[in-house]
C-alpha cells in the first residue's frame, strides 16, 4: 500500500484557495481525484470477477474484511484493458455508503491546484469523457482532467437487468 503524501508538494502560500488532488494515470492520461473523496490507495491482489456484471465492474475485492466493488476506470472511459499484467492499483472511494475501488494504471502524487485555474472541458472532447470530467488543469508538461467521482460511479446497470 502506498501512503498518500499529504504534505503539500508545492508552495503552501495560497493554501486557502487551493484544492488537493490525487493524480492517477490511465492509458497515459493524467487524471485527478479530489482528495476529500479518496479513502485510500491500495494494491489489488486477488479479485473475484462477477459473472453477468456490467462491463465497468472488474470484480469484487476484499479490503480488510470489507467487500469492495472494483470499477475499472479504463472501461469506464471506454478504453480497452491494459495489456501488461503488472500490479494493479486502486483508489478507494465511498459512494452512498458503499465502498468502491477505482482501478487505475498508476497512482501518482498529491497536487495542490487552484480551482480558479481550472478550464472547462474542450468542446470536442469525447462524449463519454465529458460526463466524467469537471474540467481540465494545465500543468507544466501535461494536462490533468479533474474527475467527477459521483459521475464515474454513476453508471447505468439496469440495461443489463433484463
Amino acid at each position: 500500500m502506498k501512503l498518500i503524501d499529504s504534505t503539500p508538494s508545492g508552495n503552501a502560500k495560497t493554501a486557502s484557495k487551493q484544492m488537493e488532488f490525487v493524480t492517477v494515470t490511465v492509458a497515459g492520461q493524467l487524471l485527478g481525484l479530489p482528495i476529500s473523496r479518496v479513502h485510500d490507495v491500495f494494491v489489488v491482489s486477488e479479485m473475484t470477477t462477477v459473472p453477468l456484471a456490467p462491463g465497468e465492474i472488474a470484480g469484487l475485492l476484499n479490503l480488510r474484511g470489507r467487500v469492495v466493488t472494483a470499477v475499472s476506470l479504463r472501461r469506464r472511459l471506454g478504453l480497452g484493458d491494459s495489456a501488461e499484467a503488472g500490479r494493479r492499483m486502486a483508489v478507494g472511494l465511498e459512494n452512498q455508503g458503499e465502498a468502491y475501488g477505482l482501478l487505475v494504471d498508476e497512482v501518482g502524487e498529491v497536487l495542490k491546484l487552484d480551482p480558479d485555474e481550472m478550464q472547462p472541458n474542450p468542446v470536442h472532447m469525447d462524449r463519454g469523457w465529458v460526463g466524467l470530467s469537471q474540467g481540465v488543469h494545465q500543468l507544466r508538461d501535461q494536462l490533468l482532467i479533474v474527475l467527477d467521482v459521483d459521475a464515474v460511479l454513476a453508471f447505468e446497470t439496469e440495461r443489463e437487468a433484463a
Binding site: T48, V50, P51, L52, A53, G65, V67, T69, T157, E160
Partner: protein, 933 residues
Amino acid sequence: MDDLLLEFLTETNEHLETVDVEMVRFEQDPNNEAILSNIFRLVHTIKGTCGFLGLPRLEALAHAAETLMGKFRDGMAVTTPAVSLILSTLDRIKEILGELERQGAEPEGSDGDLIALLDRMASQEPSAPEAALAPKTAQASPTPVYQVLERELKPGEVSLDELERAFQAAPGPEKDVTAGTLTYQVLERPLKPGEVSLDELERAFREAPGPARLVIEKPTEKASSEMPAVPAAAPTAPKKNGESSEAGEAGEGISGKVQTIRVNVDTLEHLMTMVSELVLTRNQLLEIARRSSEDHGYKVPLQRLSQVTAELQDGVMKTRMQPIGNAWQKLPRVVRDLSNELSKKIELVMQGADTELDRQVLEVIKDPLTHMVRNSADHGIESPAERKASGKHEKGTIRLNAYHEGGSITIEIADDGKGLNFAAIRKKAAERGIANDAELERMSDAQVAKFIFHPGFSTAAKVTSVSGRGVGMDVVKTNIELIGGTVDIRSEQGRGTTFTIKIPLTLAIVAALIVSSKDQRFAIPQIAVSELVRVSPASEHSIERINGTPILRLRDRLLPIVPLSKVMGLSGNEDANHGFVVVTQVAHQRFGILVDGVFHTEEIVVKPMSSKLRHIQLFSGNTILGDGAVVLIIDPNGLARMVGSESDRNEFQGDADPEQAVVAADELTSLLVFRGGSESLKAVPLSLVTRLEEIEASTIEWSSGRPVVQYRGRLMPLVSCDEELTIKREGMQSLLVFSDGDVSMGLAVAEIVDIVEDKLDIELLAERSDLVGSAVVRGRTTEIVNVAHYLPMVLETWSRKERKGGPERSLLLVDSSTFFRDMLVPVLKASGYRVQTASTAQEAVRLLSNGLHVDVVVTDLELSGHSGFALVASLRADPHHSVTPVIGLTVKPDPQQIALARKLHISEIVSKIDRRGLLSALAELNGTLEEAA
C-alpha cells in the same frame, strides 16, 4: 423531537399493542380481572404521560376510554359494541401518535365524536349492568351455610359464620357504587382482641375497588392456610386486590419481570456487523494456521479466540432474536374484527409464540402472516350456519403454530374450514390458461393447490373487502422465498387448510456449500441443496442431452441440469460432462447445478451485493471465505427463475415435482437390491424390510450351529440369503432385518447395492422356493427373494404363532398384482390364515357366489377393470356377505376413499406397502370376531 417525546412514543406504541391484544382477550373472558386491570393500568399510564407531556387530544381520548373501562371494572357488562368502541379509540390514539411521530406535535382535530360515544356508553351503566349482573347477584346471596372450622379460633381470627354473615349482609360492590346505605350490624358478643368488627368489614368491602368476588375466589396463601374453606378475609381485600392483579400480570401478562434495557436497533446492527467481521477474521486466521504445519505457540490461543468468537456470535445473534409472538400481536385484533365483519365465529389459537427468530426475518414475515390469517378467516372458515350444517362446531379455529426444526423455523397456519376448492382452482387455472385440461387432469390436488400462489389467482366468488382480489398469496410466497423460505399447502375438503412456512432462523449467517466452476468459487446456501451426485461419462450417472440440453437420470427421474459455467457465461464449452451435480430444490422446482468441484460447507456471513450488481438475479450476496477470497453467493431462487425462463424457450422439461413422482410411483415398487454369495443381484421389496444393519461379525454367536446375534436386547436368528454365502466370522456383516412384532430375523447379505424404484414384471420361478421369481430391474436381471421362504428356517416362533391364533380363519385376498399376492400370501399364511386369492373383482365375486366361505376379505381398492369399492358394494348386497369384514388396501389413502370405505363398512384401510399395518388390522378383526363368536 426531544428524547422524552421519542421515548413516550415507543413506549406508548408498545403499550397500545398490548392493550389491543388484551382487549380481545378480555372480551372473551370478561370476568378475568387480571386482564382488565392490566388494560386499565396501561391506558391510565398513557393518559398520565399525555397529561404530563401536554398532549390534550390524546389525554382526552385516553381519559374517556379509561372511564368506560372503569365502568367495566365496576361490573358493567362487557359488550361487543363497547369493546369495538374502545378498540376504535385505540386506533384513533395510534393515528394521532403516528402524526405526532412525523410532525412532532399533535395534529389538529377533534375527537368529540368518539368521546361522546364513549361517554354515552359509560353512562348507560345503570340499565345495562344490572341486567348483566342479575344472575351474579343471585349467586352471591345464597342461604347462609353454616360452616364449621375444625379447630379453635386463634386470636385475631374471625369465625366462619361471622364472615359468612358479613358476606351476606354486605351489599354487592356494584350496588354499592350507586347507592351506599350502610347496614349496621350488631355482633352479639364483644370482640376478641384482634377480631374485626362487622362495621369494619363492611367498610373494607365498600372500599375495595372492583368486584371483590373475584379476589375471593383465589385466596392468597396466607388466608387459605389460616382459614380453609373461608372466603378470603375481607379486611385485607383492598390490599389483596392489588396483589392479585400483580400476580395475574406475572402469571398471565405479556411480559415477565425480566430486566431489560432498550437498545437502539442500529447499535445492534453495528454490533452484528462487527461480529461478522470478527468471524471472518477468525476464519482467516484458522485457515493460516491450517496451512502452516509449525506451531509457533499461537494455536492454543487461536482455539480460544475461535471459541470466544463463536460464543460472541451466538450472543449477538440472540440480541437480534425476537419471539415470533411479536409478529402475531396484531392477529387477535385482526381476527376479532374480521369475525365481526364477516359474522363468523372464529377462535385464534396461538402456539409457540415464544419461538425466536431473527428480527430481520420477523419483519419480512409479519405481513405475509397477517395476510394468511385474514385469508383463512375469510375463505377458510365457513359461516356458523354452514359449519353447523356440515356437523362442525359453530366456532371455527385458526391455529398458529411455530417451532424450531433444524436450522429453520416452521410456522403453521391451520384452519378447520372448508378447505380448498380444488375443482374451482382447476377450472380457474384452465380459464386463465395456466395449465391445459390434460395437464390438470394429471395433477394431484397438492399440485393444483399451488396455483393459488399464481399472481392474480382468486377463486372467491365475490370480492370482499377482506380478500379475494387475487393479490396476496403470490406476494406472500415471493416475500417468504425472498428470505430463503418455502410455503406449502395441505388441504382437505371439508376439513381445513394448513399452510406451512419454513424459514431460516437468520439471514446474516448461513451454511453454504462451496463449489467451483471454471476456477472460480461460489457459495450455494445449504438449505437449497438436497444432494450431490458425481457425474462422469463412463459412470452410472452420466449427463445425457436432449437437443443439446443436459439431463441427468437420477433414480429414474429426469433432472434438468444447469451447467453453472454456462449460466454465468464463463465458458462456451457446451460439453461439460464431468463434475458434480448439486441437486437443488427450490419450492417445487428441482434441478441440478453442474459444477466442476465441490469443496466443503462453511458458515458464511452474508454481505449484501453492491447496488451496482443487485440486478443480477443469480446472486443473493457475497461473502469472504476463510482464505480471504471474496465469493459470490448463488441465489437458488434466481437460478430457478433463470432456468424457468430458459425452459420456455427450449422445451426444457423442468418440472420434476416430487408429487408427480408419487403419482407415477403408483405403479412402481421400491426394491432393495443386494448381492448374495453369487454374482447375481437379488432384490426384496423395501416395504418388507424393517431395517438395514451392519454388525461386527465377532458379535455373531453360534448356538448349536445356528448363528444368532443380540439385537435390541433379544436374540435374533440369522440366515444366509443363499447357499453360496457364508456368514462372516470377522469384519462387518450386512443384514436385512425383517420384523414382525417382537420377532426379528436377520438376512445376511454380501452387499447392499441400491434402492431402486421400478415397475415389477416378475417371471415366476416354480422350482425355487427361496425366490419369488426374477425380474428386470434397471436393465439387469434380478432375483426377487421370497422372504417367506426364510421365515420357517429360522423362526420357530413365527410358526408357533400360527398355533397361537387358534382355529384357522379363511381369508380372501383380492389383488390384481401377482407380485403382491405372492408377497402377501406367505405372510398371511404365517399369521394363521387359510388364504384364497383372486386377481380380479369378478373372480372374487364368482368365488364367493360359488359358496366360498371366508372370514375376512382383503382387497385392493384400486383393482383394475373393476374398482375394489364396486366389489365391496356387491359383497354388501349379498346377504351372505353383508357383514363379512373387509380390509381395503390402497397405495395412498385419501379422504374420499376413507369416506366411501366408511359407507361400505370397510373395517380398515391399510396402505398397500404397510404389511405390519395389515397384520395388526387383521389381528384386531380377529379379536372382534372372537368376541362375537
